[in-house]
């Protein structure tokens, strides 16, 4: 791109996938990831001492950052996540490494960056020789530290630490580890080049209630820290170097929206009653301690889904029963009288903590979730023991992820019963837990009536359900056009499952991302859902929508949708009916946008 350096940079727009709603005007905070280019330079003999001094102050700066990160990680994500940064600190303090680097600077009259790079690479290559796979992978810790020192040397990190009020995080991808580093509570928005609706970025942003967009392609190549940026996820657009006119338009729209769109969190009751008197119970989905505060703040009726695999701070490191027990007991206390539903480790597939599992050619269809638990019985037994012990202190239930059919449930329940009698035999208190099944694969949908006979409740994980019913990889941008939550096949599956639960007189909680979007929540109610579980910050907006609608109208719209042949037809109906029934609740931009053809 050729540009005149003296003039204002030209406004540029990117389209992407909106994964968390909002409109924000701010400044770019660019988060780096990946290779950093470092070049050798020969320095004057007289400057060697100065170069070493520069290296030492970079070390000191990196150290200060790490100490802060460690502390933040401990409070935001739990102490187990913080230990890893202790290893990083020790690496920085390791005299063997620092002495070698300083000696290289002196002998070769090299710039500090080059010395760090050369010795770092040398170290990594030795590490790559290690035979034990798990230990070898720990080379990434060394890489991380080297990266941090290089960053400190370049001085780029200065802005990173004091996160401005208007920071919009721009990154290629936001890795789970980056979450610990950033004071995300002060971020205004997150945008990434890659990712999908259920990527980590998306889940975190919705949890924090800030706008987010993913799949922006090459934004990172152009955005620099400090650049002006607009994130408009209502319209699926990011604008870099917005002109004063654009900014003004955005501010006007924000003003307009703050009148009707912004929902002030109220101490809700966890029950939303439709205008014709149908009660919908709203629970919270949580994973990180940082989100726990939202459960009470937004008035959730307990925790509908606790994704327990997020307890595993490090890939491959299984937590002891005692540590799990403490975590679940804390969870039960937090959830209060309504309790929490713990989903057993959903490891495998696209989850991050899956390095215990050997690589599979087709992980989404592979050994994951309950299959993984049944093949790793020790892991399963430890977890259910910990949950049952914690259930003696507060109300907890178990949900089995991704069951295929009755057999998975029967085997898991046998194991749970065995562990219960072992606990009781040992004189340990074991609380009552109900056992439910996640319905998220086609085989479970088709046999839902049978499964309903052997469980206490259903949970519908709509993220996976959409992916498996439509056979579309949700993290693959190329097939994003085929990923349609409002596909008639998806709606039919949900409807069928809800009916099966109703006939068996067991509760069915819809807990996927669909439940957190007002339009989808209304359709779910129309399909027969009376229990929803969602990211806590979504509770106010979903409550507001549900209170304003009549369930009878929702049912009639859903019935029409079920008769459709394509997702486009469904969305046409949704747009048309929602606007005519509830124009004050659903402005056109809150409804599914018309999609381009395939």
């Amino acid at each position: 791109m050729i540009s005149d350096l003296t003039s204002q940079p030209v406004e540029r727009r990117w389209q992407g996938l909106s994964v968390s709603e909002g409109l924000v005007v701010g400044r770019v905070l660019r988060i780096h990831r990946g290779t950093r280019y470092v070049f050798p330079a020969r320095i004057e003999v007289g400057d060697v001492a100065k170069e070493i001094e520069r290296f030492r102050s970079a070390l000191e700066q990196a150290r200060t950052q790490l100490l802060a990160i460690k502390e933040r990680a401990a409070t935001a994500m739990g102490p187990d996540h913080a230990y890893i940064f202790d290893a990083h600190l020790l690496l920085l303090e390791d005299r063997k490494l620092t002495e070698e680097i300083e000696s290289y600077i002196t002998r070769k009259r090299a710039n500090a960056e080059w010395a760090v790079k050369v010795l770092g690479d040398r170290l990594l290559s030795v590490y790559a020789e290690i035979k034990d796979e798990y230990l070898r992978e720990r080379g990434s810790d060394i890489e991380d530290v080297i990266h941090r020192v290089l960053e400190a040397l370049s001085g780029e990190r200065a802005t990173y630490l004091d996160l401005n009020e208007d920071a919009v995080i721009v990154s290629e991808d936001l890795l789970p580890s980056a979450v610990a580093e950033l004071d995300l509570a002060h971020a205004r928005a997150i945008v990434t080049d890659v990712g999908g609706w259920t990527s980590h970025t998306a889940i975190i942003a919705r949890g924090l209630g800030i706008p987010a967009m993913v799949g922006l392609g090459n934004l990172c190549q152009y955005a620099r820290t400090g650049d002006g940026i607009v994130v408009d996820s209502y319209h699926g657009e990011v604008i870099l170097h917005p002109s004063p006119k654009t900014i003004e338009q955005c501010r006007a729209e924000m003003q307009k929206r703050s009148g009707k769109g912004a929902v002030v969190p109220t101490n809700g009751t966890g029950v939303a009653t439709t205008s014709d008197g149908l009660e919908i119970r709203l629970r919270a989905n949580v994973e990180l301690p940082a989100e726990f505060a939202g459960v009470e703040k937004y008035g959730a009726l307990g925790i509908g889904l606790y994704r327990s695999e997020f307890l595993l701070a490090q890939p491959g490191v299984m937590l002891s029963e005692t540590k799990q027990f403490r975590a679940y007991a804390e969870l039960a206390e937090l959830a209060g009288p309504h309790g929490a539903i713990v989903r057993l480790f959903d490891l495998g597939g696209d989850k991050s903590s899956d390095s215990i599992i050997d690589s599979e050619r087709n992980p989404a269809l592979g050994l994951r979730a309950i299959r993984f638990c049944l093949r790793n019985e020790a892991v399963l037994r430890t977890q259910v023991r910990a949950i049952m012990r914690a259930a003696a202190k507060g109300r907890l239930d178990i949900v089995l992820p991704m069951v295929s059919d009755v057999s998975d449930v029967v085997r898991a329940k046998e194991i749970i019963a065995e562990e219960r009698s072992k606990l009781e035999g040992a004189g340990e208190a074991a609380g009552k837990v109900r056992v439910g099944a996640m319905i998220e694969v086609p085989s479970a949908v088709f046999t839902a009536e049978k499964i309903a006979g052997v469980v206490d409740f259903f949970e519908l994980g709509t993220n996976d359900l959409v992916q498996y019913i439509l056979a579309v990889d949700r993290s693959n941008d190329k097939v994003a056009a085929w990923f349609r939550s409002l596909h008639p096949a998806v709606l039919e599956s949900i409807s069928h499952t809800l009916k099966a639960a109703q006939e068996a007189a067991i509760p069915a909680i819809v807990c996927g991302e669909m439940a957190s979007t007002p339009v989808y929540a209304v359709i779910l109610v129309g399909l027969g859902a009376t229990d929803l579980s969602m990211t806590p910050s979504a509770i106010p907006r979903v409550t507001r929508a549900l209170k304003g609608i009549e369930s009878r109208a929702a049912i009639s719209i859903a019935t029409e949708c079920l008769a459709c042949a394509t997702a486009d037809e469904v969305e046409d109906i949704v747009r048309e009916r929602f606007q005519s029934h509830w124009p004050q609740l659903f402005s056109p931009d809150t409804l599914p946008a018309k999609k381009a053809g395939r």
Binding site: A87, Y127, I130
Partner: protein, 92 residues
């Protein structure tokens, strides 16, 4: 000089987190502390995390710990305790 043979009991071995605990402990003592693979193929300064990581001691590895200095007995006892406890990563 005190010498003792220790087994890496936790499944994942001396990975970054376990190594960090080991090195932090080692640095609390005056004595020189070395760790060697039992076959003598690799040897590490127990106060350097890089060295310890390079031992590539996976679960089940046998190591020899050698301490020399004024507080050698205490140092060895502290290290032995960590190994015994599997660096806090043993399944209870």
């Amino acid at each position: 000089m005190v010498e003792v043979t220790l087994a890496v009991r936790n499944e994942l071995g001396l990975h970054a987190r376990a190594a960090a605990r080991l090195v932090r402990t080692a640095n609390q003592f005056q004595s020189h502390l070395r760790l060697e693979r039992i076959d003598g193929s690799l040897s590490a300064d127990a106060k350097s995390i890089l060295n310890v990581l390079m031992l590539a001691a996976s679960g089940g590895t046998m190591l020899r710990a050698i301490a020399e200095g004024t507080d050698e007995t205490e140092a060895i006892a502290a290290l032995a305790g960590l190994f015994e406890d599997g660096f806090g990563e043993l399944e209870s």
